[in-house]
Symmetry: C2
Subunit: 331 residues, 2 copies
């Protein structure tokens, strides 16, 4: 029984900010199930800033999206048909065939979610790429420890809000930055010791007030002015985990730093990372994060848009700062 | 018997490039020797780019020079009078009371040089701050290993030329950059696999040609365009040791980077350091560097200026790129 599904394709490579012309919603054929294959109806689609990088034609840690081909991304769905002994109809699975309504493929492309009592979209959020990125970046790349003063940008975003809560669960002092009073209020609600509204005053000025003795750790989601403020205020032997530089994803403009030279005197360590670097430690992550979620120390907030049609606009809204917490599509 | 000596003082804090008004040569009184003190006649004075940082009024890893007070810096001299049981007239000592002809002080401010058959000024160069900076930055901060492709800027300078030779002694591939054909010829003579003349063409273009598969390590002495070219060409898990950013020492202009976002995809680690971070490992340094010098694997070249009067101009010449190898004053 061959069928079709609707899937967003990359229509053209964006120069700068993507536009409606970047995306095209097309009907694609789904092949019959081969032996060992399953068919999944997607329920939740993950909308993440890193996807912008895959729209450029550059070699990176994942291959670029191809023009004319379907886009990909994290998704949670329900198995509706199985020719694999490992899956049964009704199973909830996590997989990377997002940006579409249904997916068909060999069983090894899909992961059954662990048996925890959480809402399924959590496997895209605090128990998925988002939470793992926050956890490994903060605790492993930046080696943040109890007592450290941690600065995190985009603290009302999906990854940033997880960083705030993990840092508090681990006994750190946390300063989060976000755009606007509403987001800052939520960052404080998550437990941050201080929230900086970067739209209200220069980041550096606010950070110097919030951390008069300087910062030990910076978790960078944005680059640019935030990263420069972190250089300016870093204490000796500070560590920066570079997770994202959303300020630069759609801009060809070089980023300028006035304080980068402080790296030498303060012996600052700066390192880029991807959470998959830490896959061998995922059991630690599930244990800790599962415990924090169960104990109420890590909460999630979602910005949910309804229906596959809404996905390109939801993606663009990430760069407009329109989301609080994790941006998701409910299919 | 109280006497005097001539010493360069900081007359005023420079804005941007220092000028003759920055320095003032004054007669200062040398106190009589207290018990445990010695008197030293300086023979060689070290002229180093890092001294520029101490002329600014900012907290750093060493306190700023004070306006109206004598400048300081590395020096090698001969003990001429001693009231300490640890020193005898004729001993060669290394100390930090440079920028002057004679120095008096408690014995603990002076270090007798180890008994190696080297010229005394080597204790300011390859066996001193210069060599230790190259050794620890390359092998410890950047964790460079046999087989790595190493890029080093200011490769005809004091630290850079030591980095080139240490890297070759350790079996690495080395690309050095320097300004002009004469310096580049010397960099190749030191054993570099390739030399880049940054005055002849854009650094990035030359580096991509010299290292078509990218670089594993960057030893940064200059910042700016060189650092950006290193971001652009870094292989996965590349390590950058940030030793100096001479491009920025006299400039208030922010440094701009087009390729810094590659830190994430390539998991680049960038770290600032000062050689004193590694003082517990100095025995390793003396053993290795002593062996390389004895074996002819590490050679030194000096740009020598005669007489204390020449020191400010020699210092300014560092920023004009007028030196090959170590800049020294022979008193």
């Amino acid at each position: 029984m061959s069928t079709t599904t609707r899937a967003w394709h990359l229509a053209s490579r964006p120069q700068g900010m993507p536009t409606p012309d970047t995306f095209s919603l097309r009907e694609v054929a789904l092949p019959d199930l081969a032996d060992g294959w399953i068919r999944v109806e997607n329920r939740w689609l993950s909308v993440d800033p890193y996807m912008r990088g895959r729209m450029n034609d550059v070699r990176s840690y994942v291959p670029p999206f191809e023009v004319g081909a379907p886009l990909e991304g994290g998704a949670v769905g329900t198995v509706v048909e199985s020719r694999s002994p490992h899956f049964q109809p009704g199973d909830t699975v996590f997989h990377m065939l997002g940006w579409r309504e249904a997916a068909v493929g060999p069983a090894e492309k899909f992961n059954k979610v662990p048996g925890l009592a959480v809402e399924p979209q959590q496997w895209l959020g605090n128990l998925g790429l988002t939470g793992a990125t926050a956890y490994f970046g903060l605790l492993h790349t930046a080696e943040a420890r109890e007592g450290d003063v941690v600065f995190v940008s985009a603290a009302a975003g999906a990854v940033g809000s997880a960083v705030v809560q993990i840092a508090k669960a681990k006994g750190m002092t946390v300063i989060g930055s976000a755009g606007g009073a509403e987001k800052c209020a939520w960052v404080r609600e998550l437990g941050a010791d201080a929230a900086i509204d970067y739209k209200a005053e220069p980041v550096l000025q606010a950070l110097m007030r919030a951390a008069p003795k300087g910062i030990d750790v910076y978790f960078d989601n944005v680059g640019g002015e935030h990263l420069d403020a972190a250089f300016a205020t870093a204490r000796n032997n500070a560590r920066f985990a570079i997770c994202g530089m959303i300020d630069a994803y759609n801009s060809g403009t070089p980023q300028a730093f006035r304080y980068i030279m402080r790296m030498i005197a303060a012996r600052i360590m700066v390192k880029g990372f991807i959470y998959t670097d830490y896959l061998p430690k995922m059991a630690d992550f599930y244990r800790d994060m599962g415990g924090w979620i169960a104990g109420g120390q890590v909460r999630s907030r979602e910005t949910v848009r309804e229906g596959l049609e809404a996905m390109p606009e939801a993606f663009l809204d990430l760069f407009r700062g329109a989301n609080m917490g994790k941006m998701l599509i409910r299919v």
